[in-house]
Symmetry: C2
Subunit: 361 residues, 2 copies
């Protein structure tokens, strides 16, 4: 049995015999291998059927096996509803966090004899723990991402604009085989670094500033995510303190990762370290305005979240980012991020790029 | 009054005094200028309030004016619901094609004293007709996209893989100032061209094959979209016939564009031309498996659709793609696509790139 058939069976086991409508494309990809931009999947007890439109006729046949395929001209939702009626399905689970309100009403209207049952992240729950094959796929994406960073940095000149560096990084990713970037690459120098999600500007970072570079690639559907810091010229004392505090916080969080530990514990470790330092009279943990990390895989942000109040526990096979950051409004920002796989007795940092401050002069 | 305030007022006029919850980020951007990746907008009669999280505190303040801003740590939806309660709003419109099922249920639960009213594309309807400023923004994006194509083609060698060409195009976009590509660039040689949404392969197109290049850029939030054909070596008779039929169909569709014409008429014009030609015994209109075009703007696919059964009429200020294509499974594909703005007395093709078959030897 191939991995996709096994995933469909795991889903059937989780849904306890209820037929399921999978509407989220990323979940369809996880369950079938189909990567088109439109589709609807029906997972019944004995079979699974994929509905998509004529743009994807050839691709769906190439990418999937063991599925019934139904191809429509234009929106395939009516054909999906038809199939549910014809098979006399009396109860249909749907993805309550993925299906839109209007799509739900459409099903209600089209399927008056079928009870619609909201399912809470049925596929996402399977996706939290990665198979060995998936961890390999994430590792390849992470390694490609690191090579792209390295190639761009070796060419980097202080005269480059933020946008130029972002462009070079994404170009390197593509040439190395990435399908694209996982998100718009962040290159944020000086005070821009204080915006966690800054857009690269068509401007050079100021001399002697710190630059936050946050980048991810997509390879064979799997995402990577890494943040590194560059210093234009030797850092001053305050920059060095900021960087070192974030690095120490990140290492402390990584050191705590192993199966059985609560997610919030990892987040707390990072905050405990930042709490010990101050800059401009402010405690650094008060300048850390997001959570410590997130799962990644077929999506760039997945469960679990390494955040306050998350009481679930790490499991072997989870893959998460660890990315504490400190943001001094109007002045500077610092963030360091790696991808970490939870292993039986601890964890493995998948990101090969050294975390040190890279000085460009 | 700035353009954003005017848009909010147009929305208020369209919603006839009902307070509106705008959940789609692209619609929030259209109404306020805020471009963050998380946010919720409340548009009431007398004021508008934007709820977002701490990552976007500085950005929201920089990008918007005249709004109340509420910043939360993590998900800002509870703060949004709080505000609706505090303002004693008795009826709240929501975007029925944008809001998720679970988000709808959350509001139902949190706002028992408020009637939730589904709104059908209230903001999208405003967005169909572009302002002069928006058409300028689309034009700049289109021109950048064309320059990127030209720069990459001037470097193109027959030894390049599909992926390499896609990478060079996207790199050129970025260096020219694009925030990124509007969608993964398609470079599809030979039989890959028969897949309308092919992913570039890590392989050279075969000698003497046709290559479909479909690419778009994002500049200041606005999308562009263009398809051009490259021939590796001089085309043979069949390739030339395929290309010329598609070019003629595209021109016929463009020639029909002016205010007052039904959308389906534009689509029919393209099909009528393709109908006159055959290849391998098949009529070309039967090998044209998608619609003729789509609106574009802040999103790459917007209303209107140039498709069969679309009886609404073109209006001055609409901006659409015109992109007939022919797909011969296992053999070849051809598509040509421009961006066209509807003008008072006809239309203007915004795309400056010549449509001719570009021969690389």
């Amino acid at each position: 049995m191939n991995e996709y058939a096994a995933r469909l069976d795991s889903l059937r086991a989780a849904s306890k015999g209820v037929a399921l409508y999978v509407s989220a494309l990323v979940n369809i990809r996880y369950l079938t291998g189909f990567s088109g931009s439109a589709g609807h999947l029906l997972v019944a007890e004995d079979r699974a059927a994929l509905f998509t439109d004529s743009r994807y006729e050839t691709q769906a046949a190439q990418q999937t096996s063991g599925l019934e395929l139904e191809i429509t001209f234009g929106d395939s939702r009516p054909a999906f509803a038809d199939a549910v009626r014809k098979r006399r399905i009396k109860r249909l689970g749907f993805e309550k966090n993925r299906l839109g309100y209007a799509a739900f009403r459409f099903l209600e209207r089209e399927l008056p004899d079928c009870r619609l049952a909201p399912f809470d992240n049925a596929v996402e729950k399977l996706r939290i723990v990665k198979s060995a094959g998936e961890i390999d796929a994430i590792r390849r994406s992470v390694e490609l991402n690191s090579r792209a960073f390295d190639q761009a940095c070796r060419k980097l000149r202080p005269s480059w604009t933020e946008r130029r560096l972002a462009a070079e990084i994404e170009f390197a990713m593509r040439k190395l085989g990435a399908a694209g970037s996982a998100f718009p690459t962040i290159v944020a120098g000086g005070s821009q670094g204080a915006l966690p999600h800054a857009e690269p500007r068509d401007a050079k970072p100021a001399p002697k500033s710190l630059i936050v570079v946050d980048q991810g690639a997509i390879l064979d559907g799997y995402n990577s995510d890494m943040t590194r810091m560059i210093s234009l010229g030797l850092p001053d004392r305050r920059q060095m303190e900021l960087f070192n505090a974030v690095l120490e916080a990140q290492q402390a969080a990584i050191d705590a990762i192993r199966p059985g530990v609560e997610l919030q514990t990892i987040d707390r470790r990072a905050r405990q370290i930042l709490r010990k330092s101050k800059v401009d009279g402010k405690r650094l943990d008060e300048l850390f305005a997001h959570s410590t990390g997130h799962g990644l895989g077929l999506e760039i942000h997945e469960s679990p979240r390494l955040a306050p109040k998350q009481r679930k526990r790490l499991q072997e096979g989870m893959v998460v980012t660890v990315e504490p950051g400190v943001y001094l409004r109007g002045a500077a920002g610092a963030r360091i991020e790696d991808v970490v796989a939870v292993k039986r007795n601890g964890c493995e940092v998948l990101t090969p790029t050294p975390r040190q401050l890279r000085v460009i002069e």
